[in-house]
Symmetry: C2
Subunit: 157 residues, 2 copies
């Protein structure tokens, strides 16, 4: 039996589902690249959405990145997000939800001893019907906060 | 096509699969409780395992907890783990893998503004064939590190 959506997560209902599409990445320390991407937002009736993301090479389908975590809307249009990254980072972001526009700024990034240095990130997500667009800015490996990723996904379920 | 296991993750191969079972929880601030649990360790051929866990009430199947993240074995039997917790915490743990005994100690716990205070945790996992046993000790809400969870899971796939 599918649980009912928790009332505090109704503000994030437009995110629920599986999304697929493509994105482009760039950073001063790497070559620009494109990728395929799948994002899933799901819920179990509790006051958060579970989030999972993975990306792959458009050339050969090889896995590139992934991340997982939880999105916690609060009252007053505030939101908190916790993310685990396979490169060895655990991130706390805070931000706002206004209509279908979500703005997140990382507040803390805990990294493992072997991980590259990540100082923080910002994420903008915008949903228009069955299209989810996002950009990610990142401060890492000594670089100041700057554009890193942009993607557009279509809802597939 | 199933990717080959990355060589650095071979030490964690006994964890791969889906595990189901039950556990018991206790903490000075709450009533003792039992729960059903499912744990999944999977891989995409990269140097980490993806990890997802969820627990539910044995009485009515209602979801209780969940967590997700990545397990990164290093050389020399060392391991790093990053976890996201839906109650608003992002955790970095470090530890050792010796045979099928894994010992983890949290090194950093980043919490969201609305989360309860979590100071750290320790986890012991032991795999014997198709049985995975674990205990979790936790320091939280002002309590020193102490026993919190114990569970035994059977491999189902």
């Amino acid at each position: 039996m599918k649980p009912e959506l928790h009332p505090t997560t109704e503000i994030l209902a437009p995110l629920l589902g599986v999304w697929r599409g493509e994105g482009q990445g760039e950073y001063p320390t790497i070559e620009p690249f494109s990728y395929g991407e799948e994002v899933t937002f799901s819920h179990v009736g509790k006051p958060f959405l579970a989030y999972a993301q993975r990306t792959w090479s458009l050339a050969d389908g090889a896995p590139l990145h992934g991340e997982s975590g939880y999105w916690r809307p609060l009252d007053g249009g505030r939101i908190e997000v916790v993310l685990a990254h396979p490169f060895g980072a655990a991130e706390v972001l805070v931000g706002t939800v206004a209509g279908v526009a979500i703005r997140l700024v990382s507040q803390q990034v805990a990294t493992t001893p072997s991980a590259k240095r990540i100082d923080g990130s910002e994420r903008d997500l915008d949903v228009e019907g069955d299209t989810l667009r996002y950009v990610v800015r990142m401060a890492a490996v000594g670089q100041p906060l700057r554009h890193h990723l942009a993607g557009a996904l279509r809802r597939v379920t």
